[in-house]
Amino acid sequence: MQNEPWLFIGLFLVLAPVFPAVALLIPRLIAPKKPNVIKSQTYECGIETVGDSWVQFKVQYYIFALIFLVFDVETVFLYPWAAAIGQLSLFAVLEGVLFILILVLGLVYAWRKGALEWI
């Protein structure tokens, strides 16, 4: 059937987690299980934990993920264009280049605004 190649991937998707899961089940059978209070404490370099286990989330993480999202969508649009380049005229290639350049403007804007700095 036409979905032939995808059947393999579907089966792989189902079977690939099985191997690590088996690797995790074996310790459940043979490893010792002696939980005590000290062992299950959260690790903080050997001292008692101070404060909640929550960190100040910097907005910078979000900005990076956002810029990544925009470039990701752009690149996914470019894949069919790249695959079909053999059949396109030079004008069509330049249209794709224009697509890229419009988004380069976005990158330049982010750069100049300082949104790409980590601090």
């Binding site: 939980p35 286990s53 790249a82 380049i85 330049l94 350049l101 601090i119």
Partner: protein, 407 residues
């Protein structure tokens, strides 16, 4: 006898059909068998990689490495696996049990999934989906999700911090990687990995070396290996997102990272080094597997070489390098290759390769000169050096006369 794997496959198919199973069921069973064979082969390779990694790091550091168990220490990984299996599995208090357990499974499973589309030999490939390149990107994207899950589930602020940083780094380096993968797609005219290998009569690394190097650098950053391993460095953040994992769960993360490095080697070999191409592959197709793995292990050795020779990068250096150097560079290369591919259509292969190579080298030279010119300003001078023993003159004060003049 030149193609043993396909012969075995056809024999097995005949056997199953002979048992009276319907053709779809035969097909299904054969596919499942293919999946299991590839997965087991890759996992066995993973165990071998543990030994290889330890021996190589030892040689880089001028020592011997494991050499007690078995000849040359070859049975060391088996001892490691047994040790990890019998270690106690400690779940920290307050951890989210379900997510805590799924994260390592996801970490290893996503690396296994990548091997489904790598062609091992001319007619030996897991599957030839026509969007193989995007499939590889997709699986890489799922692995970042596994890391967030691991970091969050552990109920540990260092794990969470490490997970955020790792994901920020991985997500940033995915941009040049995804863009630069456009280059083999443009050169081959298809998104299918088989076609990319089949059209490499001239290896792509000869035509677009800058693209190959950008792919290598961004892939090393994607898998979180040194010199980009700030998020899981023992001296910085005590193992990062997998602090709270013990025993086999940690083993899965560790093995997953090594296997991911080999997978990057195999992907690099497929996209830029011609995959299974080599002499005599049309007569003896099974030789293709050998060529692919020689190339993959060579790139794996390069990745290890980079890891054990370079110091760790700071996270702001890392991210600046990505957004301000690699991303514009990869965009330039993509535009250049696309336009040149159109302008040089119909030209003989050697001329095509030569012009591409020249353009790449020009871009590399331009990029490096721009980068160098921007770093010419050294650290700002804060003050003049002054000798230690002389006390500084207070500003505006008149020098005291050495002898008092008051009567």
């Amino acid at each position: 006898m030149a193609d043993p794997i396909n012969l075995i496959a056809t024999w097995l198919q005949g056997l199953l059909a002979g048992w009276g199973l319907a053709p779809e069921v035969v097909n299904f069973v054969m596919t499942a068998l293919g999946v299991v064979v590839i997965a087991i082969f890759v996992l066995l390779l993973d165990i071998f990689l543990v030994w290889l990694e330890r021996k190589t790091v030892a040689r880089f550091q001028d020592r011997l490495g494991p050499n007690r168990l078995g000849p040359y220490g070859l049975f060391q990984p088996i001892a490691d696996v047994i040790k990890l299996l019998i270690k106690e599995d400690i779940t920290p208090k307050g951890a989210d049990k379900v997510v805590f357990n799924i994260a390592p499974i996801l970490a290893l499973a996503t690396v296994l999934l990548l091997w489904a589309v790598i062609p091992f030999a001319p007619n030996l490939v897991g599957t030839d989906v026509n969007v193989g390149v995007l499939y590889i990107v997709a699986i890489g994207a799922i692995s970042t999700l596994g890391i967030i899950m691991a970091g969050w589930a552990a109920n540990n602020k260092y794990a969470l911090l490490g997970a955020f940083r790792t994901v920020a780094q991985m997500v940033s380096y995915e941009v040049p990687m995804v863009m630069i993968l456009l280059v083999p797609v443009i050169l081959a005219g298809s998104m299918g990995v088989n076609k990319i290998v089949a059209s490499q009569s001239w290896w792509y690394i000869v035509m677009v070396p800058v693209a190959a190097i950008v792919f290598l650098i961004s892939s090393i950053a994607e898998i979180g290996r040194a010199p980009f391993d700030l998020s899981e460095a023992e001296s910085e953040i005590v193992a990062g997102f997998h602090i709270e994992y013990t025993g086999m769960k940690f083993g899965l993360f560790y093995a997953g990272e090594l296997l991911h490095a080999l997978t990057i080697g195999a992907l690099f070999a497929t996209f830029f080094l011609g995959g299974w191409r080599g002499p005599f592959t049309d007569q003896i197709p099974i030789l293709g597997v050998g060529y692919l793995f020689v190339k993959a292990f060579f790139i794996y050795w390069v990745i290890m070489w980079v890891k054990y020779s370079l110091p760790r990068l700071r996270i702001d250096h890392m991210l600046n390098f990505n957004w301000k150097f690699l991303t514009p560079l990869s965009i330039t290369i993509v535009i250049l290759v696309a336009i040149l591919d159109k302008l040089l259509a119909g030209v003989a292969r050697p001329v095509y390769a030569g012009v591409m190579l020249l353009a790449n080298l020009l871009v590399a030279w331009a990029a490096l000169s721009i980068a160098r010119s921007r770093t010419r300003h050294g650290p700002a001078r804060v003050g003049e050096p002054r000798p230690v023993a002389v006390p500084p003159k207070p500003a505006g004060a008149t020098p005291k006369p050495p002898v008092s003049t008051t009567p």
